[in-house]
Amino acid sequence: MPDDALLGSLLAAVDASPDDVPLRLHVADLLAARDRLPEALAHCTQALSRAPGDPRAVALLQRLTAAIARPVEPGFDWGRAEQELGPLEAGFAQEYRPDAVTEDVERPSLTLADVGGMEQVKQRLEMTLLGPMRNPELARAFGTSTAGGLLLYGPPGCGKTFVARAVAGELGASFYEVGISDVLDMYTGSSERNLTQVFEAARRNAPCVLFFDEVDALGQKRSHLTHSSSMRNTVNTLLAELDAGRNEGVFVLGATNHPWDVDSALRRPGRFDRMLLVLPPDAPARAAILRHHLRDRPVSGIDLDRLTRSTEHFSGADLAHLCTTAVERALADSVRLGSVRPVGMADLDAALAEVRPSTGPWFATARNVVAFANTDGSYDDLAAYLKQNRKL
């Protein structure tokens, strides 16, 4: 009987009795010998699914995967191959889009130790995310999961992105920041495709922290998007990618100023199932931020303690604005005098009269959120803060 006729009859026999593992492995062997590696691999995996751990099947699997992954033979004439292939069609060339994520890959050296103050945030991060990730065995023993994402929320300008970078640094992972402009596209289907590409790139570059800034835009409540089927599909794609089960080594973090606008499906287990409130900087953090913004400037007689006390509820961005305003005042004076007049407390006091904390409107909304939307306790941290600061 010629070889191929033999193989044909054996394949028919496998079809007739698909549970016959030795027969299937024999067929896989013969297929491998004829260099029909993908078919051989398919039979081998079928055999393994019926007899997990079968030593012959495992050995064959190793042989097949090694053969499939063998390197390109040396001496391959790339130039000739390119000539044979001919020029790329213009349409294809135009279709190419740079990878939305890999353009912005960072490997932050920043860690939580570099984040001034914010001890509560650090403790919560350690407890809910970093601790279980560093000790997966222990986490498993206590029945907790490291899967699922973390949603950082709080008033604007309070360092959510900075904290996310520090988390990536703590984990020794790459940091991919994805903004709405990286994903949203006016053409139908393009936003969904961009989002899929983002996740694929993150998986290729694992371990990494995939950070979605302003996640409320990409994951907005679908009930708000009745007139935009494209945006609803983008939310659906985000849900599907978070659920894909292929996100091993991809730690998804999101940041939003408006967690109440995020679709509730995104907050279910396995997705952004943990929330962390990032509040305006506390006193040590404010002192660190002020010191940072005044460090390379001519200053004299700055009472940092008093300044720190006067800037309660200021966001990091507000503090930067405060310093800039004070510096501008000193600069204007210096220009008028013709000599350097260092920034003093008078400049900062004048700036304090001008710059008000920008977090007020956010807390006004947050108060309503705690009143109406905290039935499941999601905003207990926020409620406690508001109560403590007599805003509730």
Partner: protein
Amino acid sequence: MSGAASRVAQLRTLRRLDDAERTAREALAADPQDAAVLTELAAVLLSAERHADGLAAADAAAALAPQDERVHRVRGVLLARLGRHTEALHAGYAAVSLAPNEPFAALGYATVLQIAGRLDDAQRVALRAVELAPAEPAAHLRLADVASDRHDLVTARRAYAETLRLDPDNAAARHDLAVLDLQAHRPGDALRGLVEAGRMDPTQPLVLRNIAAVVWRLAWLLRIVLVVGVFVVIAAGGGDGATPSVPVRIGGALVLGVVAVASWRTLRNLPASTRPATLAAVRADRPLAFTCVALAVCVGLFGAVAVTGIGVVAVLVWLVLALLAIVAVVVGLARRRRTPS
């Protein structure tokens, strides 16, 4: 619609108004004659309630694309918000003339008519929008708003209900329906509706204020019960209020019973989230918080009457209520002075 205009529209849908405005202005820097982008910019500025800036963009768009219905629609609403009603009505009419079968053109015109105070015409145009797009929640909501302004409460209630049937998470419709309940002296239903509206969209600033309005209404009702209750106790005492007596005890208990039954009837079936929302509303309104505490003291005084049988204790309720009346007058005057004319 041009690519840039689509992107601006997308950002507007996501309420990223700053980003939308920046994108539109960048596109206009490259092509200042892009009428679609100018129209989108006007719509963005309308959403941001920057009506004067929006009108400048809408005027430019209308000059470039006078046959575009949407330009006139957006321009009409902007003019109406700026109080230029005659021009607004012309623009709104231009929109419906250019696209007589476009439901959103009709909605825009109905809005302009409503703001101009021509409520009968506004309702007719809103009904036309509903005819053109019976599955569009915005059309029913506009009809409901106009009907509510006309005090056509049957139509308004039906249209709000239809809006909520088509879009169960429409917080504006739920809120406005609750306001109708409050006007119809159904404070329990109003409270439930407001709490649901707050849950649907916690960013609505009016909800907490209207919950406070419901609590004020309930406080007034309780005051009336308490004033009548004092008469009941005095009558039961038969002139001698200082000596304990059984009829006074019964009178006090009767008042407490009426208060308990009325409270139960009003507050039963309210969702669990009513309590934190009501507490937040009361805390945010200090005179209301003071009133609530004072009324609780009054109820406590009736409790004391029911236990001791001494009728004169009930007279203290009048003193507390008189104090509340003084506070109400002072607060009313202070608030009137603070309100800009």
